[in-house]
Amino acid sequence: MADVLTFTDRGIYCPAGDFYIDPWRPVDRALITHGHADHSRWGMRSYLATEAAAPVIRHRLGDITLDTIAYGKTRRIGSATVSFHPAGHVPGSAQIRVEVGGEVWVASGDYKTTADGLSEPFEPVRCHAFITECTFGLPVFKWTAEETLKAQMNSWWAANAAEGRTSILGAYALGKAQRLLTSIDASIGPILTHGAVENTNAVLRAQGITLPDTIRVTPETKIADHPGALVLATPSAMRGPWARRFGTSSSAFASGWMALRGVRRRRAGDRGFVVSDHADWAGLNAAIRETGATKIFATHGYTSSFQRWLAAEGYDAHIVSTEYEGESLDDSDEPLAEDA
């Protein structure tokens, strides 16, 4: 039987439906798992995404031809049947299930198996072949429990506020920032946001997601007016001159990479919180097990180790070369210039 999905230099392709999933070169028809810049790119003739992901994708890519679909609903494209299922990565993120002649393949994009209180929780989808990321596909990656994480962040913020320091927390503008917003105790002090974070907040609020009150940082913002504030910044803004306006401050960074002491130290921030929108080692393995798939394709991350591990576990495991980046510490995930 022909493969349901193939891997081309433009992206993941379905010959039966003549469409691509998260392509990185312009194509006619693109199915998009979620709005991060490495999965949702400019220049496709038409897009299909979940209803919940659509507002952010529109906000980021502007005037595009975008059709939407609800989670779990099926749609016939050519001789393929597709449906979108929650990936737990960011609000609106999806795994895309493709069925052709009884053969089921799932492209999972980026995913996280633990609930974060914001994204639609990950749903395992039974399939024959599963395309998985492995950004954190090594057994050293083990995420901090949500309750512990909350306590760590709140006590850091509260201690800074008590000692007259601004708390600057770096996180991706889409997903991570809002997840942190819903995790922290907003009663500790005012919450300021970088423009890129606030723009995404506005999009998500408009689609009915509840977030605590936030104040956009503008050139006129005086930190003296916001004593004890928490500032949510993008990784790139945090490093640049933008962050200097906050006076005496303590900086922290929220990322899965913070699990490694060496990376924490290289960031030269004061604190690192271990929190990711991707699955940790246990999450990846559990997700793969629950699909029931025998054929696994590892896309981005520690692909060679992960493929070898899966093969030893008895899977028909392969590595696929893509242009997805996973969780980068150093780049903003912003596709467009945003006002600061």
């Binding site: 090594l138 990479w257 060496g262 990376v263 130290r265 290289r266 004061d270 180790s305 150093d330």
Partner: protein, 529 residues
């Protein structure tokens, strides 16, 4: 070990020296004496001897975590620290206990006397009862190399704050041959007899690289000596005995047995700062010759004749039992000269010659001849300078000769480890041999973090082939490499080995075709090898 783990966390979470010192000082005010002593020992490089091999620890940890050894190794190569890798991959402890730092160090010593099976059981039990940070520190104690961002200097400053003692005096107290088993907190820190240990060296005075020659003022205020390429050492003759200390506070006495005879010629109460140098026929040999003797605890006769050493004396710190470090350099040097004049030429002791120069211009010209003399450039010392401790700016400067350079093409890249775990920072470079690129060296320093990020992004998109962690990349980028020396090497495909290779700059202006050739490299070898 909870309080020690809390100290570690406080120190590790910050990059600010003041915060680190405050955390350490708090610990020194509150911890039990035994734990304090061990903490001082750990932060001054006196870690307990490694008693269990790293390979056994890897096997046990992988087995306990239910992982194949190769996956443990892959994880280790990303994390870059064995103890951290072990702490991270093991399952969380079911129950925990709080025992002191000293308890765990003694437990490690106790386990080392047992057979392999009992050791394994003891280590696994410890791992199973410790939360992640304590598990990491416990394993650090097992593996040695206790470097966690606290220098001895910083620790000493905190100790000075906590005990209200003078920092310099504490620095002196902490030097020498003690271990927590041979001393106590009371006698090491609180007692007022710092001269008790006759082997105790003075802290070395270290120089920075020269920043601005014009800022030095008139040349007549300065002395210049060749900067010899050996091992900095402090020779101590006291009470009929002698000791040789390295800059890293290693006792090297037994590694250079030919220096033992010096105590017969030097009066008791003499301390000389100098360079242990491979030397024959009144000529310094290259560092290459000395290399064969580094790391050897005992020296076979053959080596003694192949690579004989002398102490090339720079400075006199103690004269007739008196600490003369506060005297001006010119006076100390005059006394050193008198002292050495009384020592026969057969003895392996030389006065590092001072270089006559009339002005900075003539010195700059002479500096160009450094490599021919097996020197690295000049040491400039202000004639009226005291002998300070530690690395200080102002009175002493290293004025090193410019590195040798070559333009080479990057052909392989590998991710770094530890703090560079998710960046490609280790590159292999090649030069042209006809139409082929021949690899000749690796380099992993010299670029800014921003440049490393740029190269990393490029490598991800321009990988031709992967060999495990190594990526072969398109041969596009040219880097100017600097290095201190070059020598023939049968172990390298190119036939040469470089000393201290690093990237000086990214030559965006050069296409790969304009990189240097193997012939260029061989020409350097003929000239300097």
């Amino acid at each position: 070990m909870k309080d020690f783990a809390a100290l570690f966390t406080r120190v590790d979470e910050t990059t600010k020296t003041t915060v680190k010192v405050a955390a350490l000082a708090d610990y020194f005010r509150t911890a039990p004496d035994d734990d304090k002593l061990w903490t001082i020992a750990l932060f001054s490089g006196r870690r307990p001897k490694r008693l269990i091999t790293a390979s056994r620890l890897r096997e046990w940890a992988a087995e306990r975590a239910g992982l194949p050894l190769w996956l443990f190794e892959e994880s280790y190569s990303i994390v870059g620290d064995l103890a951290e890798t072990i702490a991270l991959i093991l399952p969380d402890p079911a129950t925990t206990t709080d025992r002191s730092l000293t308890h765990w160090i003694e437990e490690i010593a106790r386990l080392s006397t047992l057979d392999d099976a009992a050791r394994k059981a003891g280590i696994l039990a410890a791992w199973d009862s410790l939360p992640t940070t304590q598990r990491f520190l416990f394993t650090k104690l097992l593996t040695g190399g206790f470097r966690i961002g606290v220098s001895q200097k910083l620790m000493t400053r905190a100790l000075a704050q906590a005990t209200e003692q003078d920092e310099a005096e504490l620095t002196h107290k902490l030097m020498g041959n003690w271990t927590p088993q041979t001393t106590t907190w009371a006698s090491l820190i609180e007692a007022h007899d710092p001269a008790a240990d006759l082997s105790r060296p003075y802290p070395f005075y270290l120089a920075y690289g020269l920043e601005d020659l014009n800022a030095l003022g008139p040349a007549t205020d300065w002395s210049a000596e060749w900067k010899w390429d050996g091992i900095r050492g402090q020779f101590i003759a006291r009470a009929g005995d002698h000791h040789l200390w390295s800059r890293g506070e290693d006792l090297m006495t037994d590694r250079f047995p030919e220096l033992a005879q010096l105590k017969d010629f030097l009066p008791d109460g003499t301390v000389i700062d100098g360079e242990v140098l491979a030397f024959r026929d009144e000529t310094p040999l290259s560092f290459n010759a000395l290399q064969s003797r580094i790391g050897r605890k005992t020296v076979p006769k053959k080596l003694l004749t192949e690579a004989p050493v002398v102490l090339m004396a720079y400075d006199l710190l103690e004269d007739e039992g008196r600490d003369i470090r506060q005297a001006p350099f010119a006076d100390r040097r005059a006394r050193l000269k008198d002292l050495i004049a009384g020592v026969p030429d057969e003895a392996p002791l030389r006065l590092s010659p001072s270089v006559d120069f009339t002005g900075w211009d003539t010195l700059a010209e002479l500096r160009e001849t450094s490599r021919d003399r097996n020197a690295e450039g000049f040491m400039l010392k202000r004639l009226d300078s005291p002998y300070l401790s530690g690395r200080k700016k102002g009175d002493w400067w290293k004025w090193k000769v410019d590195p040798l350079t070559i333009d080479a093409v990057m052909i392989y890249a590998q991710a770094g480890s530890g703090r560079r775990a998710n960046l490609f920072t280790d590159y292999t470079f090649a030069v042209w041999k006809g139409d082929d690129l021949v690899p000749f060296t690796k380099a992993y320093s010299g670029l800014t973090d921003a440049e490393f990020r740029k190269v990393t992004a490029w490598v991800r998109k321009n990988t031709l082939q992967k060999f495990g962690p190594v990526r072969q990349v398109k041969p596009v980028h040219v880097f100017e490499l600097g290095f201190e020396g070059i020598q023939p090497s049968p172990r390298h495909k190119s036939g040469v080995a470089l000393r201290f290779p690093r990237m000086l700059r990214w030559r965006h202006d050069k296409p790969p075709s304009e990189a240097n050739t193997l012939d260029d490299l061989n020409a350097l070898l003929d000239q300097y090898g």
